[in-house]
């Protein structure tokens, strides 16, 4: 039986701040949760597999690097109805997946969890390298605490 909540880190860990989602999920995975409430998934760049990991869940919490016009390191919580995608895509493939498009697809398929929460983190630099910018690393505890609070868990 799958846990009712899934926490998903999206992004490419070899592309600088693009890897902030998986980096946070890795840290969250080291904190035990009560009652097997949530499963943590480092989805990396396997965008299409998002459809598989959210299927059958009550809630999905997605953490991703997001270009939102904010200052580097700023995190913002939003739901699907609060944003419009501005990413220009040439289609959907394993090389080009758009989170919002995939969530829309999941909704059409009737496989969208009741609650989907996205934590977007504004990057400083997206480019080759496994280093996450200091602007983001300085706030890592804040990110973890906010997401744990979202899960209704005591702050670690």
């Amino acid at each position: 039986m799958r846990p009712p909540v899934v926490v998903i880190g999206l992004g490419h860990r070899w592309m600088g701040d693009e890897g902030i989602g998986p980096a946070i999920v890795e840290r969250l995975g080291q904190v035990p949760l009560a009652n097997d409430l949530a499963e943590y998934v480092d989805l990396g760049t396997r965008g299409l597999a998002l459809l598989h990991v959210i299927d059958g869940r009550q809630k999905a919490v997605i953490i991703d690097c997001a270009l939102m016009g904010l200052s580097p390191g700023q995190m913002r919580r939003f739901t699907l109805d609060q944003v419009a995608g501005t990413k220009v895509l040439s289609g959907v493939s394993d090389h080009q997946a758009d989170l919002l498009g995939l969530l829309t697809l999941a909704k059409t398929l009737g496989q969208l969890p009741k609650e989907v929460v996205i934590f977007g983190i504004q990057p400083r630099l997206v480019g080759p390298g496994m280093h996450i910018s200091e602007d983001l690393m300085a706030r890592i505890d804040y990110y973890l605490e906010t997401i744990m609070a979202e899960l209704g868990q005591p702050v670690c």
Partner: protein, 435 residues
């Protein structure tokens, strides 16, 4: 007044990576028709130099996010050849089972997400879900099965971690194999649903034929529709070429319209992939796969490149049906915990060759006496198809240019997509504005 066309597609959509199409027809005369690959080289062959032989398969798996198992298998086979390591029959079967998971994963991705929107006249799978809900649900279900099948055998969906020279670091339990078998048996029904859906739109597959050479692995002993063992075969010659002589097959050369090398053998281009495998080995398909081919009108000798997508669907049936038999065989013998085999490190050269979903793949490595890589040479399937795509376009354009700009553009896009080219990797950041 003659036909006027000016088409510049930068980049082709719904393919893995970036490629361009440029067409110019003026006064009914074709001035230009080009398939271009503008992506920067990635230098994997240089990256592995100096690396220990035990690390090669892990590094080169990163060549691709879709056929990473295939690259790892080709590299592992090459390393084992160089080091003189022979794996156990159980390891061999489990690796083939792992390889089949990727064939299904990649083919279903192409059929359902990349090619199907063309058949239904929509830009992507997202709007397709509104008009063909059950079909898309079926595709998602099959894709998930293939991903989880890879997880089980390879340790994760992409970039396998269980593959090492000499064996596997982890194998599934017998219960996990029984569960997998049950899911594969259930998948047969889903595959037939996809066959029905594709059959219902098969009249939208362009009717275009251009005889060319089809190159793939062929395995005679025992006769097998092979993705993993065998020697190099071609529809243009009877005999088989040992994989160690792959350079005499690929004959790579540089084209000024591509950052990827082009290939040619008996003609000025050749094709690899599902249709090539089918044309060389169709008589060896599983019963279900033969049935699917017959239902979708695919027969040996087909030279319509658009039918490559159909050949992929035929292969989906083959790998599912054959895997069920392989699991039965493993369970009958009983799984044994085996340590990866090893031998004393030695200098040497090895070639590994397997069929990637997109076609035949060659990996060659040379090692020094400490087991450090001193040279690497990798030839990927999409690179082998580039010249054939160009020749197809040159033959197709005169036949369709009277159909108008939009129709020509669409048929050229579909042609490229039919080859399921896998050109590179990119990033996936989201971009939003707040309402």
């Amino acid at each position: 007044m003659g036909i006027e066309l000016k088409i510049n597609v930068h980049h082709v959509t719904r393919v893995e990576g970036h490629g361009n199409i440029t067409v110019e027809v003026s006064g009914g005369q074709i001035r230009q028709i080009r398939w271009e690959v503008p992506e920067a080289p990635r230098f994997f062959e240089a990256m592995v130099r100096g690396q220990h032989f035990t690390d090669i398969q892990t590094i080169v798996s990163r060549i691709c996010g879709i056929c990473s198992i295939t690259h790892s298998l080709a590299a592992t086979k090459a390393v084992e050849k160089a080091m003189g390591i022979e794996v156990s029959p159980q390891t061999d079967t489990l690796r083939i089972l792992m390889h089949y998971s990727e064939q299904l994963q990649s083919h279903i991705l192409h059929i359902g997400y990349l090619a199907a929107p063309d058949f239904f006249g929509v830009p992507s799978v997202v709007p397709l879900a509104s008009s063909a809900l059950e079909a898309v649900k079926t595709i998602v279900r099959l894709h998930r099965l293939a991903n989880e099948w890879s997880d089980l055998l390879a340790g994760r969906t992409t970039h396998p971690v269980t593959l090492v020279p000499g064996g596997l670091t982890r194998i599934p339990t017998e219960q996990q194999l029984r569960d997998l078998k049950q899911r594969l048996e259930g998948a047969t029904k889903d595959l037939l649903t996809v066959v029905d859906v594709v059959g219902s739109v098969a009249d939208r597959i362009p009717r275009f034929e251009r005889p060319t050479e089809y190159v793939s692995l062929r395995q005679l002993d025992p006769p097998t529709y092979t993705f993993y063992h065998g020697q190099i075969g071609s529809t243009d010659c009877q005999g088989l070429v040992p994989i160690e002589q792959w350079h005499s097959v690929a004959n790579e050369y540089v084209s000024d319209q591509s950052t990827a090398k082009w290939c040619r053998w008996h003609r000025d281009s050749y094709a690899v992939g599902a249709l090539a495998r089918f044309n060389n080995n169709a008589q060896l398909l599983s019963p279900l796969a033969k049935d699917v081919a017959a239902r979708l009108g695919l027969a040996k000798g087909c030279c319509n490149p658009y039918m490559n997508t159909i050949a992929q669907l035929v292969e989906c049936a083959h790998v599912v049906e054959t895997s069920i038999q392989m699991i039965d065989g493993l369970l009958q013998k009983g799984l044994r915990q085996e340590r990866p085999r090893s031998r004393a490190v030695r200098p040497g050269l090895g070639v590994g060759c397997v069929e990637a979903p997109r076609g035949i793949l060659f990996h060659q490595y040379e090692f020094d006496k400490k087991g450090r890589c001193v040279a690497a040479d990798i030839c990927i399937p999409t690179g082998q198809n580039h010249a054939n795509i160009q020749k197809d376009m040159e033959a197709l354009l005169p036949q369709i240019m009277h159909e108008g700009q939009d129709a020509v553009r669409q048929k050229l896009l579909m042609l490229v997509r039919a080859y399921d080219p896998c050109i590179s990797c990119s990033t996936h950041a989201i971009e939003v504005r707040f309402l």
